[in-house]
């Protein structure tokens, strides 16, 4: 589904990603861990198509398409979803209106009719339950006045509504208490299936207690330096990232 080969990216002339490789297949969950400044969020931003980043080398194939050639909104319409680390507030625009606009744009791209209001509302009711999002929040302005936990739940709610092929969760666990973490992770697990894939970017192992990954990758200095099964996360938690750094230098 997603194949990243030797990806290089920089911002303001400073190289952040330095030859990153990653292969994600349908039905898989990949966790990307690593210390601050390793390039985790840069990877998410580059895949989503944030303009500030300059791609200086490499290629990314997304479901047979050259991802780097696609505009940001085309990537989204092709089924790439980013759950933001810091969800953005849009005052005066209701969550419902925002999502219906997004959903209909995606449907139009696929050559489908706009969703009927009745079906849409039924979908909102069903999907908001997944993350125990209060129905009232659905009609409030996008993320405005939401608590940190509500914002993150809202991201997963949007993911549920848009049903992406590939979802990238960028530090979705940051700022969540344990209950909210469980709810968010529970929602993500319910959305897992054989046809989609999820990349979980996180600092800490604790999210991976709830969302069990198929692979754990360690990102350091712009490259994947180690890949292993889910147990790698535990090992990292125990030994710290320095262990990887030392290891990587010896490789």
């Amino acid at each position: 589904m997603l194949t990243i080969k030797n990806l290089h990216a920089s911002i303001d002339g400073q190289a952040i990603l330095k030859g990153l490789n990653l292969e994600v297949k349908p039905g898989e969950v990949h966790a990307i861990m690593g210390p601050n400044g390793a390039g985790k969020s840069t990877l998410a931003s580059v895949l989503a198509g944030k303009e500030e980043y300059e791609i200086t080398g490499g290629e990314v194939d997304f479901d047979g398409k050259d991802l780097l050639e696609l505009e940001t909104e085309e990537r989204a319409k092709e089924g790439l979803f980013l759950a933001f680390q810091y969800p953005v507030e849009i005052p005066g625009v209701s969550n419902i209106n925002f999502l219906r606009t997004a959903l209909n744009e995606i449907r139009e791209y696929r050559g489908e009719e706009p969703i009927a209001a009745k079906d849409f509302m039924a979908m909102v009711r069903e999907k908001s339950k997944l993350v125990e999002l209060d129905a009232k929040l659905a009609s409030r302005s996008v993320n405005e006045g939401f608590s940190g936990g509500e914002k993150k739940r809202n991201e997963i709610f949007q993911m549920a509504m848009l049903e992406p092929k590939l979802a990238i969760l960028d530090e979705t666990d940051s700022g969540l208490d344990i209950d909210a973490l469980r709810i968010v992770a529970g929602g993500v697990n319910k959305l897992r299936n054989q046809n989609n894939a999820i990349i979980v970017i996180t600092h800490y192992q604790r999210l991976l207690d709830y969302i069990i990954p198929d692979f754990v990758h360690v990102l350091a200095d712009g490259k994947i330096v180690k890949t292993g099964p889910k147990e790698l996360a535990l090992e990292l938690e125990e030994k710290g990232y320095d262990w990887i750094n030392d290891n990587a230098q010896t490789v």
Binding site: E73, A76, K77, I90, G92, N97, F98, E105, Y109
Partner: protein, 481 residues
Amino acid sequence: MGYTEEELAKDLENSEYKFGFTTNIESDRAPNGINEDIIRFISAKKEEPEWLLEYRLNAYKAWRQMTEPEWAHIHYEKPQFEDICYYAAPKQTKKYESWDDVDPEMKETMKKLGISMEEQKRLTGTAVDFVMDSVSVATSFKAKLKELGIIFCSFSEAVQEHPELVKKYMGSVVPSKDNFYAALNSAVFTDGSFCYIPKGVRCPMELSTYFRINEGGTGQFERTLVVADEGSYVSYLEGCTAPMRDENQLHAAVVELIALDNAEIKYSTVQNWYPGDKNGKGGVYNFVTKRGICEKNAKISWTQVETGSAVTWKYPSCILKGDNSVGEFYSVAVTNNFQQADTGTKMIHLGKNTKSTIISKGISAGQSHNSYRGLVQIHANADNARNFSQCDSLLMTDRSGAHTFPYIECKNNSAKIEHEATTSKIGEDQIFYCLQRGISEEKAISLIVNGYCKEVLNQLPMEFAVEAQKLLEISLENSVG
């Protein structure tokens, strides 16, 4: 002043002699320029009573002594008043009884303007009085309104049919010498709308007028007079469009609202006159005087969404004369390319326990300049007056400008006045967030801007709000930078 009947008679005599307008009364178009004869010509064309001609001539005399105001934050080439044609009637001046009788060509023009009369008709309870180059050509729902005693007609018709009402209220809120453009309008106004709601009647439908500027080189000088008698209610919609044109066109309207005891007037405007091209060429000059007066417990709400005109100079105001009266002003003003807008409101608190609310949302794109200018005035007798003002500016580009000029004059210590102002630039992170959800940049901007204007758009009647949203979308195409 000092203009006697004798002098008037003499003037009339002279003019008739000089230009022979009496024989030329069938003409559809007055010669360019402004002078007493032109005014007599207009008045004669409209078969106006003497007092109205006098009113016009007095206004004209005052106007001659006045100079064009320069205090506004706008720069433009001043109109050449001698090059303007002050009266032009469409070729076909026949009145239509029903929509079916309306000339198909005219209907086609309306369609091109995006004013689908069919749609208007279908919209529940919207009566449309269509003003085309000064002469009212179509009026609907009249019978239904008549049952309730509501008068809704063209200004000229009102002058003929209800002279006592026109005479009583015309100029009572905006005196003919109020300002340069109001004086000009008072001298040469050609038509407009008149509305009277009798005591205790709640007007069951939105009253709506579409104005447009049609013939090349014609200025448009409309007058609107809305009188809501005691305990009545009316919601009035005014929409404006003008076709593309190269030369600048002047529009100087006067709108007067009178809300008697316990009455309420809601006045909504959507204005999208031609703003000029991308290089700032052409466009309409919009110099409008709008003012309302509230008697006891009365309420006036102005709501405006302005996306058009090259230059706008407009301050819909409320005189809160009666105790417990309420004034509201909700405004969205969008400027793009080289447009300039200097707009805002005046809330004059005279009565006790009077309340006013001002919500102004300015959006500047391209290289445009958008200014809010507002006055909140609390007079000595206005005990416990309240005002809340919120003036927000949204910048779409680095080259555009937003300016705020709030004036507060308070002569009563019990007053409570609050003013909030913000200026922000449209967020790239907001746009990215939308893009990442599959929403195109154009739609994203439209969503964000509509969200920003929501408090104002919410004040508009439903069908008008939809139109306003479309307008915002159109006027902000390719505007982020």
